[in-house]
């Protein structure tokens, strides 16, 4: 399934019943060097738009929101020792967590890659 995007600069990619979530390339470049990621506990329930993780750059901490509601089934342990992976490959190896979706139809309202790109253009 194609990746979808939120106005808060998260991306989400569904694969069967489980969706992978991370922050976008744009977000990582705006944040600068990432030094720490706080990931949710496995089993935690998240609501759409609710705080799910925290990403810290050198200068500040930022909240990462869940693009859709669900239950956390996996987190990217690699980010513990190598938070810079988010800078290197934000939309691939730098994924944050995986969700079992509560309401998959919530994905439909999110932006496509094209729409997200357009959206970025409006943010001046």
């Amino acid at each position: 399934m194609a990746t979808r995007y939120t106005k808060d600069h998260e991306w989400i990619r569904l694969d069967g019943e489980v969706a992978t979530v991370g922050i976008t390339e744009h977000a990582q470049s705006q944040l600068g060097d990432i030094v720490f990621v706080e990931l949710p506990e496995i089993g935690r329930a998240v609501t759409q738009g609710g705080e799910a993780a925290v990403v810290e750059s050198v200068k500040a901490a930022s909240d990462v929101y869940a693009p859709v509601a669900g239950e956390v089934v996996a987190v990217n342990q690699e980010l513990d020792g190598a938070p810079g992976t988010v800078n290197e490959d934000a939309e691939g190896k730098g994924w944050f967590f995986r969700l079992k979706l509560a309401s998959p139809e919530q994905l439909d309202a999110l932006m496509s890659a094209e729409q997200y790109k357009e959206y970025l253009g409006t943010l001046t």
Binding site: D8, H26, D33, V35, F36, E56, V58, S62, D63, L123
Partner: protein, 385 residues
């Protein structure tokens, strides 16, 4: 996610000032941000971590022209020095020619109005001239504070037409030395008036990173030439304020308005080393009663290093609690230390908890995170004495 800036947002508040190197920063891809009323480079394209590491491995060039430079002028050194000693606890009378000293402007409660560097000229023709460098955010208030407290015959002359650069790191001596051979032999905290490739300037061997290096003051009209010559040195890179902050934090150095302010005395701030012995005994500076009492009895709180046990940074404002849940202090500077490769912070704790090795809890996102009180600095200083 929260707080993602879109494109670097233009300033929407009062118009920001620019240093003489503004266009150089922009041409080198700097991300400019407002700081102390100026548009300043927070980082360049390589990013804060790379810039920080470069300073400790080689040499970084910082534009610090936003800081305040001024001359305090009296008939001779002793007269000018005594006038300044009315305002600061440092030993200024005893400052030798060509030497620089760190001190603070104190208020009547012994609180810190600003910290500053004071230099006595090496040149006997400039006897009676003290060169002051103060913080950008407080310079107007500092000048006003000083000016109304000067006796007749002493003048404070602002040097707004001057720029200031810092070159910091182990290769700074070679990089600067190629353009100014006299700088090579300067001792730590020594200063000279000299020429850098024929350009008049005033150089001191000091800085704000814990590394060997120099600060170079020159006319604003000549700073671009000096900066470009330094940048032509292979080991020198432009460094932004982001890395300047992480470097000084690892070095355990205070940032005014954060680690020191009008509520902190120099004793609480662990800056007693900067109070001259004669000054401790004689007083004669604002808040001397409090300072002398704290020197005798110990201050009720103390600035210390605090190292989180996990990898999560603890930022300014974070509450510090003892093991039994009492609030015992607050973090005043915190972030990530690239050289240490982990979170580092400084803050104040009640004196019973100031012993290195003391375990404390930091309340981050409403959860207690274990941390340990440690001695400062996090990264040993490498001054060339």
């Amino acid at each position: 996610m929260s707080d993602v800036q879109t494109i670097d947002s233009p300033a929407t508040t009062a118009p920001l000032k620019q240093t003489p190197l503004y266009s150089l920063h922009v041409s080198r891809g700097a991300r400019m941000v407002p700081f102390a009323g100026y548009e300043m480079p927070v980082q360049y394209p390589d990013g804060i971590l790379a810039e920080h590491n470069h300073v400790r491995a080689a040499a970084g060039l910082f534009d610090v022209s936003h800081m305040g430079q001024a001359f305090l002028v009296g008939a001779d050194h002793e007269t000018a020095a005594r006038a300044l000693e009315v305002l600061v606890p440092g030993d200024i009378v005893g400052l030798a020619p060509g030497r620089q000293r760190y001190t603070q402007l104190l208020d009547d409660n012994g609180g810190i109005l600003d910290d500053l560097m004071v230099t006595r000229s090496a040149d006997p023709m400039e006897d009676g001239v003290l060169f002051l460098v103060v913080n950008a955010a407080t310079k107007e208030a500092d000048y006003a504070h000083i000016a109304v407290r000067l006796p007749a015959g002493i003048k404070l002359l602002r040097a707004d037409h001057r720029a200031l650069l810092a070159v910091q790191g182990p290769t700074a001596v070679q990089a600067v030395g190629r353009h100014c051979p006299e700088a090579v032999g300067l001792p730590f905290m020594g200063a000279i008036t000299v020429r850098f490739d024929g350009i008049d300037c005033h150089i001191s061997r000091s800085g704000y990173t814990g590394e060997d290096g120099y600060e170079i003051s020159c006319k604003a009209t000549r700073v671009r030439a000096i900066a470009e010559r330094l940048l032509s040195e292979p080991s020198v890179k432009l460094i932004g304020l982001g890395a300047r902050d992480s470097l000084r934090l690892e070095a355990g150095l205070c940032l005014y308005g954060h680690d020191i302010d009008t509520t902190t005395s120099p004793v609480e701030a662990a800056l007693s080393w900067s109070i001259g012995k004669r000054r401790r005994e004689e007083g004669g500076f604002p808040g001397a009663e409090r300072v002398q009492r704290e020197l005798r009895e110990g201050a009720t709180r103390r600035r210390v290093g605090i190292k989180p046990d996990s990898r999560a940074p603890a930022r300014e404002g974070t509450e510090i609690k003892s093991a039994d849940g009492a609030i015992i202090g607050k973090i005043t500077s915190g972030g990530f230390g690239p050289t240490v490769n982990g979170p580092v912070s400084m803050g104040y704790v009640a004196r019973e908890f100031a012993e290195p090795g003391t375990k404390v809890d930091l309340i981050v996102r409403d959860k207690p995170m274990p941390a340990t009180v440690v001695t400062l600095p996090f990264v040993p200083h490498r001054y060339v004495r």
